[in-house]
Amino acid sequence: MRLLIVEDDAPLASGLRRMLEAEGHAVDVAARGEEAMAAAAAERFDLVILDIGLPQMDGFEVLRRLRAAAPERGAPTPVLVLTARDAVEDRVHGLDLGADDYMVKPFATPELAARVRALLRRSQSHGGPRMAHGPLALDTLARRATLRGEPLELAAREWAVLEVLLARVEKIVSKEAIIQAVAGWDEELSPNAIEVYVSRLRAKLEPAGIRIRTVRGFGYMLEEFAPG
């Protein structure tokens, strides 16, 4: 994947670059907002890691311009905002402007790596008709699912629940959100019904190492697939 780091602190930028390169990405670094805009105009990046505290043109402005330029370039490039300022204003402002995730400095690099992976996975599967998760593949157009290459039988409701969880791998999804996504206009679904669908999904997916974790009193999370 091709990543752009926009960070004016040279030691941090080089550290992030090394770390992400070790993950197998191609990484460019821009130290200023203007540079970042030029790089984004010249090339298509799969992800931008954007520091808010840049000299002159700050990260919010870069984000605003990136998003303003986005429509002609197809699906928007995911942006992970880094901030050293107090979280909430920057987060709210950043998310309002269309950032996909944020992290407050200082952060643990494994967590940053995990979020980069999650964002890339989401942007790859999002909008596309095919979603994959380890040995599981969903073709949403053909409504066909395969597990380890074998056809997987899923009832309509099971399919819908799995689709919601798969769109947000490694994020917890509340039961309400699942109900909203699964239930049609004319029907009411109880949280208990969701539990039934999830346990059926588990029975089908766990033998292949795909785990759906219950978050007590909240909802579910499709865990990151770890082979082996």
Partner: protein, 444 residues
């Protein structure tokens, strides 16, 4: 000394001069009305004296006074008083009457004296008797005069006492009424959040309090300005601290990801652990400073349930990393507050529970009897009752606690809680073990 009361102060200032004025008034009125009365009564005695003098018969043998017994009886006893008299010839010889009645001293016409044990008023009259002038002394007891003077005194004092009472009442209730605008001003100030530094509406304040309101607004503005300065400083400090800490952490993590010889790995791991700790401490100190500065008036309606839901994903991942079962029981719990600080308080509670609280942690939000509440319960070793007061102090850690915490987490929770007018309770966990920390927000 009792607290200074404006009413008491006013009454103290007002009542003594008022009392003195009333007393002086009473004396003047009494004197002014008693004098004509005395003159009138004296004139009546003089008339009696002249009438008595006219009864004196002058003949060659001398002076003779005769009065029928009935008349004498009528003269001597009026309705209220006894009357005495003594008639002396121009030469000073006794003619009739009570010889022991003394004439006024010197050349006075009247005097107050006593006669046969009674207080009397004595008038000396030069009355024509025949062709010469006799001296007639007429005296009467003071029953009628005393009664009259008492009536005069009463009719003077009663209205004045009423005036004094009215003045005191007017002061008492007038002060309360007059201070009404101050009372409503102080009610408004009391009802304010300590974080609310908006100016008071000076236009709505009564004219008398406007100067006070203007002065208060000036003060509020200065406090708000210095709070903004502090917030700017904190934002700058946060930035300046966090970026190099991020450098340190990133590079130490990259280094630790390499294959390293053991002698290099151990100090690097220490370096990394210290960096992470420093980063957390810096964040906590910044939060604490923000909670203290606390006066930016960013108070809004916040639902604790939504706040928790927004953070749930982050917390669940932290719990998974520690192998803790983090669960939720969430009901709507609206409060008025600063979402940033409330989130920070909850994050600290959850972090503490995940760090020290055993294998199962539950976050609950609810609304009970009109009060919103959030609580975090764990099944860890719990906080001994003796320590539950101290754990809220800054930099205090329960002795024997594992790990390298700063002891700031719960102090941050306490500061944020109290700046929201909420209170914090440290209770035992539901299963008999562990700890339940409960934050209850004020009614509303």
């Amino acid at each position: 000394m009792a607290a200074r009361s404006l009413r008491v102060h006013l009454l103290r200032m007002l009542l003594p001069p008022l009392a003195a004025l009333l007393a002086l008034g009473a004396v003047v009125t009494y004197t002014l009305s008693i004098e004509p009365a005395t003159e009138a009564y004296d004139a009546a005695l003089t008339d009696i004296g002249i009438a008595l003098g006219s009864q004196v018969q002058v003949s060659a043998s001398g002076y003779r006074f005769e009065m029928p017994a009935v008349v004498e009886q009528m003269l001597r006893t009026s309705r209220f008083d006894s009357v005495y008299y003594r008639i002396l010839s121009p030469g000073g010889m006794e003619i009739a009457g009570d010889p022991d009645l003394q004439p006024p001293p010197g050349d006075a016409d009247a005097y107050d004296g006593s006669f046969r044990g009674n207080k009397v008023r004595v008038v000396s009259v030069q009355a024509p008797c025949g062709r010469s002038i006799c001296t007639v002394l007429v005296a009467e007891t003071l029953v009628k005069r005393t009664q009259h003077s008492q009536e005069i005194l009463l009719s003077t004092l009663l209205p004045e006492a009423l005036i004094a009472l009215a003045a005191a009442l007017i002061v008492w209730f007038g002060v309360k009424r007059g201070l009404g605008p101050l009372t409503s001003l102080s009610e408004e100030l009391k009802a304010r959040s300590p974080r609310d530094l908006r100016p008071i509406d000076a236009a709505a304040a009564p004219e008398e309090t406007r100067a006070l309101v203007t002065a208060l607004n000036g003060l509020l503005q200065e406090v708000a300005e210095s709070s903004r300065t502090q917030q700017r400083f904190l934002a700058a400090a946060a930035h300046q601290l966090r970026t190099p800490l991020a450098d340190l952490q990133t590079h130490s993590e990259i280094a630790l990801a390499q294959a390293l010889p053991a002698p290099a790995r151990a100090p690097l791991e220490h370096l990394h652990a210290a960096t992470v700790r420093t980063a957390r401490l810096a964040n906590q100190l910044l939060t604490l400073a923000r909670a203290e500065a606390g006066a930016r008036g960013e108070v809004a309606s916040v639902d604790l349930k939504q706040l928790v839901e927004g953070e749930a994903d982050t917390w669940v991942h932290q719990a998974l990393a520690r192998n803790v079962d983090l669960g939720f029981e969430l009901q709507a719990a609206p409060v008025q507050g600063d979402a940033l600080l409330l989130r920070e308080a909850l994050a600290n509670l959850v972090h503490n529970a995940l760090q020290y609280g055993g294998g199962r942690v539950t976050v609950r939000t609810a609304r009970l009897n009109g009060c919103s509440r959030v609580e975090v319960e764990d099944d860890g070793p719990g906080i001994p009752a003796a320590e539950s007061g101290r754990v809220l102090e800054r930099f205090y850690r329960v002795p024997g606690t594992p790990g390298t915490g700063s002891g700031l987490g719960l102090a941050i929770v306490r500061d944020i809680t109290s700046s929201h007018g909420a209170h914090i309770d440290i209770l035992a966990g539901g299963g008999g073990t562990g700890c339940r920390i409960e934050i209850t927000f004020p009614h509303g």
